[in-house]
Amino acid sequence: MENKNVDVQQELLKHLSKANLSKEKLSSISKAIASENTKGFRIIDWRWLGTPVQERFVLEGELELRNTSFLQNLYGEDTVKEIKLLRKGIPVHDFFNVVIEFENII
């Protein structure tokens, strides 16, 4: 197992172990996951930015080219600071690599 994997998992566990994580916060994440499941967005990595306070959250994933509703939903999300799209796929460019940066989500 790569060390990086373990680090990320430890970070995630640490984050979820925080006593001040509200049910509402967790619920919103679960809801987002449930909707992503049906919209063809596949998360491949995430990371927090900011020391000591985590100020931004970066989500990287792959999105099927035909799936535009996921992006449309993001446009109305106030916490989204930046979206980077890179068209990918071999031999046919059939998906977007998507990097989304959120702020003010804690």
Binding site: L13, L26, S30, I33, A34
Partner: protein, 379 residues
């Protein structure tokens, strides 16, 4: 990501796109262990098992109805006297054979012979060694299981682990997944503790609150994404939004009307044959009100199904619909185990006497059968 380590042997798993139609068989509740969370209350005290001739006859009929997977559970399946004969026969009918085991009884030549007819083994894993041993009430159970995993790896095309989740189980999910990967497993399934059988004893001690359920859901999603190329993962928890957006999930109502042109397996994607030989829908523990028949019944399975459709199907749809509506209406119930909820609700149907018409040559006869009445829903 570990994208380079793709599953190379995935062609030996049920083929991608293949629709699994499962017969889950609890041939015996005899087990070498007495696990504290066992939903079927299996233990060494149980004796006997289903009669193999009857069982073979039923799965032969069900194969023509579109069923293609035998999932053998228990009890510990390797303690079922006729396991070898059953799996050999189901293999000859081209079933995909899956067996859920504690992997502690695999050293014998008999076990190795049996494994020749197994396509997939799901091995119970309850946590790190101490936790596994404590839940299994057996010192050294973990080490014996590890020895069994080695044997499985050498004798069975695919294997995976199945873990019963307790409320704080999210903390150990990464460890379990990495353990499964280290053992070269291809499947990792997480199943929330069911308050049934001996598992019900936990009811007064622990509580699956929504915060822990969310944490389980989030960690699982992360792990599933992270190891997407390495291992197939399953969590038996569903988000309400997925149910809302997918009405066909809870029941293919439209299939009922055109069943004449379709096979029975399109209606019941999973059938259960329990330790009493009863054939039931949904899952183990379903109220016997919804019993389709029994392997010892002296009539064809198709006839049992026709009877069921005629006399019980409306009630079953009622159960599905009321469960579906309740979940959507309950704002606090965001994550849930669909099967557990519907099984629990099925118990609201109590015993009464029902008249069921028999079919075929004795169409004019009616017989009184033990049946069950919904006692809660109509009071």
């Amino acid at each position: 990501m570990t994208s380079n380590s793709c599953l190379k042997d995935q062609q030996t798993l049920p083929k991608k796109g293949r629709v699994s139609r499962v017969i889950q068989i609890h041939a015996s509740l005899k087990c070498n262990l007495t696990c504290s969370h066992c939903y079927s209350t299996s233990s060494p005290q149980h004796k006997g098992g289903l009669e193999i001739t009857k069982l073979k006859h039923v799965i032969e009929q069900l194969s023509t109805e579109g069923y293609n997977v035998i999932s053998l559970s228990g009890g510990e399946p390797f303690l079922y006297d006729s396991i070898a004969e059953l799996l050999e026969y189901s293999k000859s009918l081209r079933y995909f054979n899956s067996v859920t085991t504690n992997a502690m009884l695999l050293k014998s030549n008999r076990a190795r012979q049996i494994m020749k007819n197994i396509d997939l083994m799901a091995i119970s894993l309850d946590g790190k060694p101490d936790q596994h041993d404590a839940i299994r009430s057996h010192q050294g159970a973990f080490n014996k299981m590890i020895e069994g995993v080695q044997i499985v790896r050498d004798n069975v095309p695919n294997f995976g682990f199945i873990h019963t989740l307790f409320p704080n189980g999210w903390q150990i999910m990464p460890w379990l997944t990495e353990f499964a990967l280290e053992q070269k497993a291809k499947l990792m399934q997480f199943h929330p503790l069911e308050m049934a059988g001996r598992g019900a004893n936990y009811q007064s001690k622990i509580c699956f609150d929504s915060i822990n359920a969310h944490k389980i859901y989030i960690i699982f999603y992360y792990l599933k994404q992270y190891y997407a190329n390495d291992i197939l993962m399953q969590l038996d928890l569903l988000h309400r939004d997925n149910l809302r957006d997918n009405t066909d999930f809870f029941f293919p109502e439209k299939d009922i009307d055109c069943l004449d042109n379709r096979k029975m397996s399109s209606l019941f994607k999973e059938l259960i044959i329990d330790e009493a030989g009863d054939i039931i829908p949904i899952s183990h523990g379903c109220s016997k009100y919804f019993k389709i028949g029994n392997i010892n019944d002296d009539k064809p399975v198709v006839e049992m199904i026709e009877n069921f459709l005629q006399y019980k199907m409306t009630k079953l749809m009622e159960l599905y619909n009321s469960t579906y509506q309740e979940i959507l209406a309950d704002e606090n119930l965001e994550l849930f185990n669909w099967s557990e909820i519907i099984i629990r609700k099925s118990q609201h149907y109590g015993i009464h006497t029902d008249r069921m018409a028999s079919h075929g040559s004795s169409a004019k006869k009616e017989k009184i059968e033990e049946s069950y009445l919904n006692v809660d829903m109509y009071l």
